[in-house]
Each structure stands twice: as C-alpha cells, then as structure tokens.
C-alpha cells in the first residue's frame, strides 16, 4: 500500500565500507578510489617495478618490498586490492598477482591459504614453464626452435608431448628441471617435489605435502622427510613459491594484507620467525618478485632494524582531507545517480565529518551512508528537497554509528568503577580558581599526598582539539604539582597527538574502547595511586584504618549489588518450577516438530541447511544474538506458565518500556532478513558449489554479490543502534539483577555489533574462500 511518500533513493555510500577482497579476480568493475597521496605513491612504486626492464646478463632481477601502513579503516585493503588489479592488468596474467589476507595469527595458516589460492594446477603450470624452457633449449640442439607450428589456430605442443614426439632424452631433461628448481628455489625438498609434478602418479602426494600434510612415504623415500608446519618452514615455503614464479625473469606480485594479525606489538613473534620473515623479504627481492605488506603502523616497531631495511618503500595511509572527501562524495553520487554533485552534503558538514572521523576512510563512508539516509528520509517525509546534511546530523549519526558514548555515559562508567573499587572522589572538581583546572573526577587516596585527576575529553584529531586540551593539562598540573593525571579520550586519538600526549603525561592516554576499558582504567588508577608520595607520619595503624574505610566503601557498594542479586536469585528460585514446566513444554513442542507433528506455532529456526559449518555459524550467531536479546518466546511461555502473576508483571513492565515495541519489531525484521539471506545463500551454495562441484563461476559470484547487496539494502533500514533499548535492558532471564545487568550491558551491545555488523561481506568472504578451498 502506498503511503504517498516517495520511495527512498538508493544510497550511493556503502553501509559496511569494507573493501571487497574476494571475487575481484573476475571483476572488471573497479571500486571507487580516491587518489590520495598514499594511493599515488604505492601505485607508482608498483608501476616502476612492473615496467622495469629485464635485468641484463649476470644481473640479479630487482625485486621490491612495499609496506602499506595505516590504522584500521584507512583503506589499506582497498589499496591492496587495487594494486593487485593494477598488476594483473599490466602483466596480462591473473596468476602473477595474488592477494592474501591473514585470517589467522600464524604464517603457517597464511602459507596454507597461499598454497590453496595458487592451487595445484597453477603450480604445475609454473613448473611446466620451466620444463618448457629446458625442452626449448633441447629443441635448438635438434635444429628445431619453438614456433615450428605454422598452421594458424594450432597450439604449441606441451613440453611432455614434444619430448614424446621427438624421442628426446626425458630423464636428462627432468634432471635439468630438478637442478634448475633446486637452484631457483634454493631448497632441495621443493626442487624434488616440484619436479615430481611433471611425472604421472605424484600429483596427489606432492599436493598433500605442499598443503602442509605429513610427507607420504613416497616422498620420504626421496628425502622429503618433514611437513611444512611451523612458522619458519612456512615462511621459507612462501619464499620458494615466489622464487618459482619470479625465477624465470617474470614479474610476480604477492600482497599480504592484515599482517598485523601475525605481527603486532601486542603479539610479538618469536625471534626465529622474525628472522625467517626477514629472509622472505630478501628472497622476494632477489627473486625479482614484489611483496606488498599491509599492516598497522606498529609493524615498524615490531620488526628488527635489519628487517625494516629490507623494505624498499613504506607508504603511510593518512586520513582523507576535506578535499578528498569532497571528491569521494561527488564520485560516489556520480556512480549512483550519474551526477557528480555534493548535495545534500555541504562544505561545513564535510569539514565536520572530517574532524569527527579524522579522515578515517571507513568512518567517512559509514557516516556518509547514514547521513545520506537520514537526510533522504527527511526530504521524503517533508517533501523539502532543500534539506542538507548539517554538522548536527553528522554528529548524531557519528554518535550512533561509531559507538562513541556521550560525556554522561563515560562519566557514569567511571563513577561505577570508582565506586566498585571503593576509591573516594569528587566530581567536577576545580583544582584552582581557573575554570581550566576543572577535572571530571578528583580521586584521592588517604595514605597518599595529592590525588589523581581524571579528565575526559572528546576526539583528539588535530591541533584544534589539542590546543584546549593542552591548556587544561598544563593548568591542572600547575594547580596540583604532586597530583597525577589520567586522560580518557572518548573518540578518535590521532597518532601524532597520541605521541605528544604520551610525552606530556608520561603515560599513554586511555582511549575508551570496549571491551576492556574497565580493566584498563582500574589498573591505571591503581598504578597511579602507587606512584603518589606517601603522607609523612602515616602509621601502620592509620594505614589499616584507611584501608578499612576503603573496604567499607567497597562493601557498601557490594551489598547493593548483593541485594540486587538476591532479589534476582529469589525471582529465579520462585519461578524455577514454572521454568521447568515451560522448558518441558518447549521440549515437547520440539519433539513433536521433529516427529513431523503439527506445527505448534512459528518455527523457531528452520532445519540447518547444507552450508559449511563455518558459514552457517555466522548466520546462527546473528540469529542467536537477536533471540537472546528479545527472548520473546520464553517471556510469553512464562507469562502463561506462572500462576502467581510475577512473570506477568515483568512481561507488562517490558511491554510498557519506552521504545520496546520498535526495538522488538526491528529485531524481528532483522531475524527474518538474516533467515531469508541464509536461505538464499544456501540455495546459491547448493546450486553453484555442491552441484557444480567446483569453483564458483564469475556469474555465480555475481549472483552471490547480488544476494549480499539485497541483504545490505534491507539491513540498511534496520540499523543495529535501534536495538539499543533491548541491549540496555537486562535479558528476560536476568531480570531483577540491575547491577548484574549493568555490567553486561555494554558486552551485549558489542555482541550485537559483532554478530550483525558487516554480515554480508563476512558471509561472502568465508563462502568464496571455502568454495575455492573445496574446489581444489
């Protein structure tokens, strides 16, 4: 039924802003790219490599190692994919440029993905190329050179065909191939194993070993006695494959994305792994191949100097400038509507957008998407086409989309943590007459002089944010020279300012990030208190007294919590009989359904389809999260199952809660959308993978892409932040325990985001990866 409101315009901005890394092999359509300095720089390095003339006789081929470093969402993956496409175009060969993202935290896993991506057929082809070179040399001896085929349309025979047709000395030629491969790969095992691929009966055995399996006895008899199953061997194997590809003076580009999953300051690898990694870089350079590494900026500090020196170029991904965001918006709208216009965005809103996000490409795109939708809804509802995106709209969508909390939220969290630990504090405390000396919290410790100032600030993106913050820090410091300062940043903290603040405070500012903030904050306060000078004259007795006071304060808070908990447990106990009855009813219904009995209501979850477990788990997680959030079935069951009316009161309380209906409605629609997406994907999988028993065709990938787009198009109107009333509310099964619920509230929000955000690209990626792996 038409309401008379015009239909929504298609949104030219991606809701996920996640670069597409699967299926791009077959796609000519390039994603929109803004030519930032980093993009130009990286592309020019790669182009120089691709177009370099072949080395002269006796010269080593010149390889390259390019590192692309940037924070999350700065477009590293997008650039990586673009570089692979560029290389494939220049080399006219998709086999010579490969994209690989680290999905696990080890090089072994990365190597296995690499080998799977290459596939046996490609590796065999590469080995055959070496054989063809050697056969061609032998043909010159016979007085035949390749190119004897004169009839148009006829193909050059394969090397083994030539050997057979002319009776060439096959054993001598194979020995030469083996010697060449051993020399090229600098690895006896690979030289042997790869040469075996030229003979019949060895493919499966060699392939299993290349994939990391234990060497088959047939290989052990030939000296290959260990699997490729540790970090050092995996790195060496990757180098060998680079040499295999690069060893014929050919160009080969390997892009390793998300390397931070393996190498990061949080996960320092073993020294021998770092050395093996260094050797990999060396091998790429000497093989004349090009290795592109994408990682977080801390890769610099993780690698040894000697390893860093192997990286020929480092490209830093910086935030988009205002002009670049202008261009991005225009190009996006041109691609969608055919007109390169800025409206409904304005210069002011773009500047604000840039300031809010620090130019982080992913945030920019997401906010553009949300702001466009908000304004388009306004335009449609008011029929006023002049409505534009204002800084206020950007602020609002940023708050919802990026998960930044309001200043009040942060204050509440800090307060709860201070209370829970029994620390005494004053809120909004002026340390001097100057208003700049205001601290959000002033925490004191009875056996310590001075105190700890806790300052909460918004995003610190540029000098404009830094200047007032610096003034506040200086003023607080001057007012309380013995005091300590903990700075909490609610939003983005630009890296250069992080370093400056670290110097100024002597410690890293705390950026509010869930999960883990509470633990970090507690640890920081404790460490700060330890560094404060002890009060002179403090005796063991006064210390004990102070400690008792602190414990008392903690206890009073704990009693509150226990009180809530006790109520909750009472509620649970009193309803346990009814719960049991409800569970029995549910079980009976399930048993009936499983026996083909009459449906007892809407099916709770359709039978699991024939999707691989890894993929179906993504759907099940999303559905489970939504079910846990609403627990409507359980709530209704209990409403009918309990005779004392206690459950009914709770049901009624929920039904009358603000925004409950809307949130439940959205959750239900989300669930239906996920289920429909799952059904469509299952049909696709059955038809394109199971029944065709192979790699998905380009057409099949397009179909999958269309399904994902359809899901996104619906999901766009069902943003996860509209579930906030449900995430803020204790789950039905935990009702009555306010403090308990308070602690898990943020975790619920994170769970919702983890399970539902970017569902379609995750499904697409895992599905294609799984299809490629199973297709051999």
């Amino acid at each position: 039924m038409s309401t008379g409101t015009p239909p929504p315009r298609p949104n030219p901005f991606s809701p996920t802003a996640v670069a597409r890394v699967t299926g791009f092999e077959h796609s000519d359509a390039s994603e929109l790219t803004i030519e930032t300095d980093a993009v130009r720089e990286a592309t020019s390095y790669l182009s120089a490599y691709l177009h370099a003339p072949p080395p002269g006789a006796g010269q080593d081929p010149a390889g390259e190692v390019i590192a692309i470093l940037g924070e999350y969402g700065t477009g590293k993956t997008h650039l990586a994919v673009r570089l692979v496409r560029h290389a494939r175009r220049v080399l006219h060969d998709p086999e010579r440029a490969i994209y690989l993202d680290a999905t696990a935290d080890s090089f072994v896993a990365l190597y296995r993905r690499f080998i799977d991506r290459l596939g046996l057929a490609r590796i065999k082809r590469q080995v055959e190329n070496y054989y063809a070179d050697i056969v061609a040399e032998a043909l010159e001896g016979v007085g035949l050179t390749s190119g004897v085929v004169e009839k148009p349309g006829e193909r050059e025979p394969m090397p083994h065909e030539v050997v057979e047709r002319l009776g060439l000395m096959e054993s001598a030629l194979l020995r030469k191939v083996q010697e060449t491969l051993r020399r090229v790969t600098d690895n006896q095992h690979f030289g042997t194993a790869l040469t075996l691929l030229l003979r019949s009966g060895f493919d499966e055995i060699v392939w299993a070993w290349l994939q990391g399996g234990e060497p088959h006895q047939v290989l052990k008899e030939r000296g290959i006695d260990k699997p490729i199953n540790n970090e050092v061997d995996a790195l060496e194997a990757m180098g060998v494959l680079a040499l295999l590809y690069g060893g014929r003076q050919a160009r080969f580009v390997l892009v390793l994305d998300e390397l931070d999953k393996i190498f990061s300051s949080a996960q320092q690898p073993q020294a021998d792994t770092v050395h093996a990694f260094q050797k990999l870089l060396q091998v790429f350079a000497s093989a004349g191949a090009c290795l592109v590494l994408c990682a977080l900026p801390d890769l610099r500090s993780v690698l040894y100097t000697s390893t860093r020196q192997r990286i020929s170029h480092m490209v830093d991904m910086k935030g988009l400038t205002v002009d670049e965001i202008h261009t991005f918006i225009k190009l996006s709208q041109q691609a969608e509507f055919g007109r390169a216009e800025l409206a409904p965005f304005t210069h002011d809103s773009i500047r604000y957008l840039r300031d809010t996000t620090g130019g982080n490409a992913r945030y920019v795109i997401k906010l553009c998407h949300d702001a466009f939708r908000v304004v388009d809804d306004l335009i449609r509802n008011t029929r006023n086409p002049k409505i534009v995106v204002t800084p206020e709209i950007v602020r609002e969508v940023a708050r919802k989309q990026l998960g930044f909390l309001s200043a009040n939220d942060i204050h509440n969290i800090v307060r709860v943590i201070l209370d829970a630990n029994g620390w005494s504090y004053i809120r909004d405390h002026l340390l001097a007459d100057d208003p700049e000396s205001r601290t959000d919290f002033w925490v004191t410790f009875q056996d310590r002089a001075g105190g700890c100032a806790i300052m909460v600030t918004g995003p610190v993106r540029d000098d404009a944010d830094m200047a007032p913050l610096t003034r506040r820090i200086v003023t607080v410091r001057m007012a309380e020279p013995e005091g300590r300062l903990i700075l909490i940043v609610n939003g983005i903290l630009a890296e250069e300012h992080a370093a400056e603040l670290r110097e100024r405070l002597g410690v890293e500012p705390l950026v509010y990030v869930e999960p883990g903030f509470a633990e970090d904050f507690k640890a920081r306060v404790r460490a700060t208190s330890d560094r404060l000078p002890r009060i002179v004259g403090s005796t063991p007795l006064t210390e004990v007294q102070q400690r008792i006071d602190q414990i008392n304060r903690q206890h009073s808070k704990i009693y509150d919590s226990i009180g809530h908990l006790a109520t909750h447990i009472d509620g649970v106990r009193s309803s346990s009989d009814q719960r049991l009855a409800a569970i029995e009813r549910t079980l009976n219904a399930l048993m009936l359904a499983s026996q083909g009995g009459a449906a007892t209501g809407p099916a709770r979850l359709p039978a699991a389809p024939a999707l691989p477990r890894e993929i179906d788990q993504l759907f099940l997680d999303a559905i489970n999260v939504l079910d846990e959030l609403t627990q409507l079935d359980l709530m209704m069951d209990e409403a009918y199952g309990q005779t004392d009316g206690s459950a009914m009161e709770d049901v009624q309380a929920r039904l009358s809660a603000a925004d409950f209906f809307e949130a439940v409605g959205v959750a239900h629609l989300m669930r239906t959308n996920v289920l429909s997406f799952r059904t469509a994907v299952t049909d696709w999988y059955r038809a394109e993978i199971v029944e065709s028993a192979g790699h998905p065709s380009p057409r099949a990938e397009e179909r999958l892409e269309a399904l994902c787009r359809a899901y996104d198009d619906v999901a766009e109107f069902l943003p996860t932040f509209t579930l906030r009333p449900l995430t803020d509310m204790a789950p039905w099964t935990a009702r009555g325990g306010a403090d308990v619920a308070e602690l898990s509230q943020r975790q619920r929000r994170i769970r919702v985001q983890t399970a539902l955000d970017n569902l379609s690209p995750r499904v697409q990626r895992v599905l294609l990866r799984s299809a490629l792996a199973s297709g051999g």
Binding site: V142, E150, R165, L166, E221
Partner: protein, 314 residues
C-alpha cells in the same frame, strides 16, 4: 635384367615394432643387430667379463644395474645380457628362466612406495614361476600365502626352484638407490636380477656400487648418449644389412655427419631414420638406391613429428 627388389624400410627389424628395444632372447636373429653405439658394446663387454663364468650364479646371485638416460639403449642391453647368460648356461646344460617384469608397475594412478613396488614385483614373480612350473610343488604350497612378501619369498627361492633352473629376472625401472640395494640383498644363488634406471644420479650409482663392493653382487653398467661416428656406424649397418632384402634410398656420409649433432640417443636416431624412410615410402617418390635421404628430409620429418605427434609412426 634383374627382378626389382621390394621397397623396404631398412630401419625396421623383421617381425618387430620399430621402436621396440632389441630382444635377442625372444628373436635370436637380433643377436647380431647390436651396433656399437652409445657405449653399449663396452657395457656388454663389461657384463660378460663380470659374468665370465656364468656357473658362478649357481652359488652366488648377482644384480646388474644398467644406468643411462632415456633412449640410450638400456633395455636393449638388459635383453642382450639376459640372452647371453641364458645361452651360455644352456651350453652347459642348465635351464634359464627369464622372467620379464619390466612393465608390471606401469599405468598406476599413484606411485607406489618401494615396499609396495617390491611386493607387486614379488607377487608377479611368484605367479610367473608357478605358471612355468619353475617352483617345486611343495614350495608353491608353502609360499603361496606369502607370495607378495619379498622377505619371505626371495631368501627361500634358491631352495624353492626346481633343480637345475637359474632365474634371470628383468625388474621394473627403478629410480631410488634404496630399491637397488634391497634387490641386491635378495640376489642370492641361482638368481640374476637385471635392472635399469634413468633417474639415478652418478653419485647415487657410485654410492650403491661402493655399498655393494664387499658383497661383490652388483655389476654396474652404463650407456650414454651418441658419440661422434655413432650415427654413421648405425646407418651404415642398417643400410648394408638389408641391401639384398629390398630397395631403399641411401644416405651420404655428409648427411650422416650433418644430422649427428641433432640426435642425442640411439632411440631418437632410430625414430628419426625409421620415420624419415617411412615418410619417403609413403610419398612414393624416388625410393631406390639411386636416390638419397637428405638432412632436409630428416628435419622435415622431425618438424612433422613436433607438429602432429607420433600418429604417423606405426
């Protein structure tokens, strides 16, 4: 006027396929078909010297390992050695059973391990000996259930063979030194194993020979690529040999010396010359002694092979 001779291909031995290695123990006329090319004469001499007295086989086994690249005449040499031993033993009243197992491992989808290969060979050998009545009946009964267990069969064979029989086994091609060593260990009295390999390296062969020196069971033979003068020797032999049997074009010494660098092995030489003559015959142009096969004819044939494959060879 003499009667016109039939047009024949001088590179096709009678009743034999053109690319099939010579096998004098099956076709006795082929005993003098061997031409001294590829070091084969020298290798054969080495063998006969080592087996100067074949009766030694009655109390100690031997293994002859023939190495050399594909097409250099290893199989033909193996057959010649088998035939030689058999003839000489026959001359002193002994019976020789030549069991050819060279093809028992062909056409397998996946390469077997050494153990599996040896089990297959052992099983087939037992089957062949049984069907030829070369095993004593009580031994057949005793070994039947273990017929694919080399450790069970080979050590027992000298006792299991019917009296007076000496066994010559032509083994499948090997590529691993370990396999050669294991067969050498099984070569006990009344047994001669003949095995060829094109993939063992010089170092591996030296290693095997060194390891077997103390036992004195192993005979190492090697054949190589064509040497200077080999082409002329081979061509002249074949053109002279059939001069009274039929008519065919001749080949000048110059042509022989010009094609020599193009051809590396005796198999390649046989393939090129047989094919070139066949092509001339097919075209029905000037196929007599007044005509010649030229270098260009040979090159044209090689080109056609490269393009069209071996379909033109019978």
């Amino acid at each position: 006027m003499t009667e016109a001779l039939p047009k024949i291909n001088p590179f096709l031995p009678p009743d034999w396929a053109p690319m099939r290695p010579l096998c004098p123990w099956k076709q006795s006329y082929q005993r003098d078909y061997y031409v001294s090319v590829d070091d084969t004469d020298q290798a054969f001499k080495d063998f006969t010297q080592e087996m100067d007295d074949p009766t030694t086989l009655l109390h100690e086994g031997r293994l002859a390992l023939v190495t050399g690249d594909s097409g250099c005449g290893k199989t033909a040499l193996v057959h010649r050695c088998a035939d030689d031993v058999a003839r000489r033993l026959d001359g002193i009243g002994r019976t020789t059973e030549i069991i050819d197992l060279t093809d028992v491992l062909n056409g397998r989808r996946q390469q077997p391990t050494i153990d599996a290969r040896m089990a297959i060979v052992c099983d087939r050998l037992f089957g062949a000996l049984k069907s030829r009545g070369a095993l004593r009946s009580d031994a057949v009964e005793e070994l039947a259930s273990d017929r694919d267990l080399p450790d069970r069969v080979y050590p027992y064979l000298p006792d299991a063979l019917v009296d007076g029989i000496v066994l010559v086994v032509l083994l499948p091609m090997v590529e691993l030194a370990d396999e050669v060593m294991r067969y050498a260990a099984y070569a006990t009295e009344r047994m001669l194993f003949l095995v060829e390999s094109s993939l063992l390296t010089k170092d591996e062969v030296s290693g095997v020979i060194r390891a077997q020196e103390a036992w004195g069971r192993l005979i190492g033979l090697h054949v190589g690529p064509l040497k200077r003068g080999d082409v002329a020797r081979y061509v002249n032999d074949r053109l002279d040999r059939h001069s009274t049997d039929g008519d065919y074009p001749l080949m000048s010494e110059e042509t022989m010396s010009r094609v020599e660098p193009r051809l590396q092995s005796v198999a390649q030489l046989q393939r090129a010359l047989y094919g070139t003559y066949k092509e001339r015959l097919r075209k029905a142009v000037r196929y007599d002694r007044s005509s010649s096969v030229t270098e260009q004819d040979i090159v044209d044939f090689l080109k056609s092979q490269y393009r069209d494959g071996p379909g033109r060879l019978p």
